[in-house]
Symmetry: C2
Subunit: 317 residues, 2 copies
Amino acid sequence: MRSLKPGLIEVSAYAPATVANLAVGFDILGMAIDGAGDTVTLTRSQESGIRILEVKPATGLTLDASSNTATAGLLEMISDLGIESGFEVVIEKGIPLSSGMGGSAASAVAGIVALNAFLESPVTTKELIHYALIGESVASGSRHGDNVVPALLGGLQLTRSVDPVEVLEIPLPEAVHCVVVHPSHRVDTKMARSILRKEMFLKEHVRAAADLATLIHACHRSDLKLIGKCLRDNLIEPQRMELIPGFMSVKKAAMEAGALGCSISGSGPSVFAWFEDMASAEKAKNGMIEAFKAAGLSAQGGISKGRCGGARVTRRL
Amino acid sequence: MRSLKPGLIEVSAYAPATVANLAVGFDILGMAIDGAGDTVTLTRSQESGIRILEVKPATGLTLDASSNTATAGLLEMISDLGIESGFEVVIEKGIPLSSGMGGSAASAVAGIVALNAFLESPVTTKELIHYALIGESVASGSRHGDNVVPALLGGLQLTRSVDPVEVLEIPLPEAVHCVVVHPSHRVDTKMARSILRKEMFLKEHVRAAADLATLIHACHRSDLKLIGKCLRDNLIEPQRMELIPGFMSVKKAAMEAGALGCSISGSGPSVFAWFEDMASAEKAKNGMIEAFKAAGLSAQGGISKGRCGGARVTRRL
């Protein structure tokens, strides 16, 4: 049985949005971005168990703790650690639902990080990931860490295994500017996964693996020119792009503005692109938003520079 | 038309044996090793064209220049560059035939490097690779650079593309000791390729790509412990191991001696393993040779430490 820090009543934790897959790393690569994130606040309560008080803005997300991504992992963590106190939960969704920006991972991570802040002896990073993955899998239907790990740790993260948890931070060149544009459209994560071919050609594997290996090498070398040669996805993107109205024009706008690469963020519909400088990134962001508009969708965009931080406690009471 | 250096009559060039695939990098990764290699000697002749005088030891390799891996690329290079002189060729095979140690690549590379030494203005590295690949493809039936590139350049090389030629040297930790054990058995490269499943599962791709990405990262970090977690092949090895009598016992001997990983060298039958120190490598080498013996095959082994050099001109006359 783990004891809680005496006198601590309320903790809020924030976890950032993330871009998963990153063209070359389906299910294993992801990066944290600035400007959007979810906040989860836990307040100790007299009653045992977990009770979701509110989701802001009211999104239609379930208030049932075992089905909500922000709390499913919490329940497991509370049970495993023998925590006797109950908590009331408020979830602030800064990341649009089903946007491909890792919203469910961010909520799951923020909840776990908040609970961990209550513990006299906090759990390890691997355990945090383990519990956050439980929450995230409620949304995605499978346990993969490409959103959860960067949402927790920040930076560019390679999740080489989730069972056991094994993650590596890949150095992200400071000059990388990541644009993420989010159209007013939803893609269901489970559906986006179910449409993928389960089989592929050995040849496709060799090419995709070469691009991934090159990206890892290029990041270590801070070789942006080389990144520009390998940041592409011939495997998953062709299968998912039809789920995103206007995708080809959006990508074209990014590439014409000088993108090192451009592809789907997570399972979409958000689209990300990497640039060498802020001017091209700004230009691309506007062009990508315009391209979504031409396809009938309003859109919003943001730019993150270099390594962005992960989850953090934002308030203790 | 390229002119030849006046007064130069004879050039010998050496290219080392190589371990391709390296468990995680099917068709794209390879490393040069010490202790075995092929030498090709070109002597200017009055007659035009290429004439193979001798292959030592007499191996049954064809003396037809267009079908021999050491000369097929030479013919193309001579034709492309408009070289009018003819050459007599002697090939010294230090690498056993069909051993999985990159013998055909070494011969192809040595021939091209020897010819290049005759040129007043030598061709670029990319062109050397291009011509060597032509020679190598005579043996393997397809153009892939995982033996040719390290045979030419030395070190641990990622061939991310052969058309156009794009290669990257991955830093090989100095502490890596590579054992290669070669049994008295032949595996035909084309056959070893033809038995591979053309299709695979997306899941298999994700796992294999994660291991490759991890190896690239671990090499940059000189993290041998991490190398020990990812240097494995669940994709190709299970399909090819039946071509190698005693493979499982040989691998067991390597792993029990402390190998970071052990798998098939190229398409086999040679087996390679990486170690952190010479003592384990020596112990493993002996154990692996014994295991082959128990399977009815005599075997020989060698150990290379850290980065080994590539092809070089060994004699000018």
